[in-house]
Subunit: 246 residues, 2 copies
């Protein structure tokens, strides 16, 4: 009998092995083929002995999913890896879309992971103890007008706001506009946490405020967490009270 | 020399061991005292041999944190456990608040976990591939008017919305009002995922829409995920496209 292929879409979490789930590790161990963006493949290189490994460059997401499906249809078990949570701006959606588009019947298991906002929060203290919004500032795939509308709504609702993909080499004004929108509704002394490489090698943490946040280095490996009206900083930690103490 | 105590605030993830991180397991193994709400303690009972275990009832959060700090000040290593991500409506914030209030100097490590929205998303397909808001419908610690304002803002911004604590025995109207607010801005055929016990024993999954969501059982173990204007359902999965296919 022919072996039936299957697909795991695996969230690796922040990057350090110890924040991966056992399920993620087992899915990779079970896979015969492992596919992903090179930076993520490098994080799990030691798990890949004897496996077919296909790493590719950035922005090849669609291609990677087609390849994953091709391999699975050959009867292979394939792990498509993604950083953070595969279900939060990760590979889960596009993989399911391509499976549906090609109308193939194959098992796909989405293995969730710790998303960057959770990792950044743990480093900062406890900024996400209350309602929060997660917004990507990348306008490669989303109209900037819609992103600005979401920033406005999140600020109006006094959400804690976690910004993903805040800035890249060729994309610098979005974080400035995002800050301007936040300043319309949030005080300029609202705490802001800037975390680069949260819970992985090269971790850098800054706690500042809306007024001064642009004085610090922000790049595509950074998550920016902006507090709500009750967020405060004490002993180097950023805390959003939930209300237990009232 | 006296041993210096320390505190781990540990997110256990959805509940199944395989979705815990190694860091969470090691923190519990390292701890001499483990403190938590009984339901969560039961999830890790096999890791607790030889340790002092203090389980307590619901709504004893403040008490549990004081006890954690007391034990740590005696020089013990203490793990305070919480489900999901300790930093998302978990114990991280209140623990830091109480440490600051009592002005004690003790190391606190927040160990992040997979939050319920990530677990629910993985079960549903890929509903959180784009900007999302997480809102708790519990008005025990938050004014209902503020929660309604956040629901309105999240709906206006066309966020994917994950509702935590949607309903309890004594709190039933909030989910109805939340749905009404969503219906003002989102189409009645907007996909809605209802996941009980995501990624743990007793998992139940419903995919429906805004119009019909109240026809299904929703309780405090349930997370409700409401799509954005582009979310669709295909082959039993709920998918929010990010835009790769355009």
């Amino acid at each position: 009998m022919e072996q039936k292929g299957r697909i795991y879409v695996v969230g690796l979490g922040p990057g350090n092995r110890e924040y991966m789930s056992m399920r993620a590790i087992r899915a990779i161990e079970d896979a015969e083929v492992v596919i992903g963006y090179k930076t993520y493949i490098d994080l799990i290189r030691d798990l890949l002995a004897g496996k077919e490994v296909i790493d590719s460059g950035m922005r090849k997401e669609v291609e990677r999913c087609h390849l994953t499906l091709d391999k699975a249809l050959e009867g292979k078990k394939v792990a498509l890896v993604s950083s953070g949570d595969a279900g939060v701006y990760g590979m889960a959606g596009i993989m399911l879309e391509i499976k549906d588009e090609r109308d193939e019947d194959i098992d796909i298991e989405i293995v969730p992971g710790i998303t960057a906002a959770s990792a950044a929060s743990a480093v900062l203290g406890a900024p996400m103890m209350h309602d929060f919004a997660v917004i990507s500032l990348s306008d490669l795939l989303t109209d900037w007008e819609l992103i600005k509308k979401r920033l406005t709504c999140a600020a109006m609702g006094d959400f804690v706001v976690a910004l993903y993909n805040p800035k890249s080499m060729g994309r610098v004004h979005q974080i400035e506009e995002a800050r301007e929108i936040m300043m319309k509704y949030k005080g300029k002394d609202t705490p802001v946490g800037i975390v680069k490489n949260a819970k992985r090698q090269g971790e850098e943490v800054i706690i500042t405020d809306l007024e001064h946040m642009l004085d610090y280095a922000i790049d595509m490996l950074t998550v920016v967490v902006i507090g709500n009206a009750h967020t405060y900083v004490k002993n180097g930690k950023m805390i959003t009270p939930r209300g237990y103490q009232r």
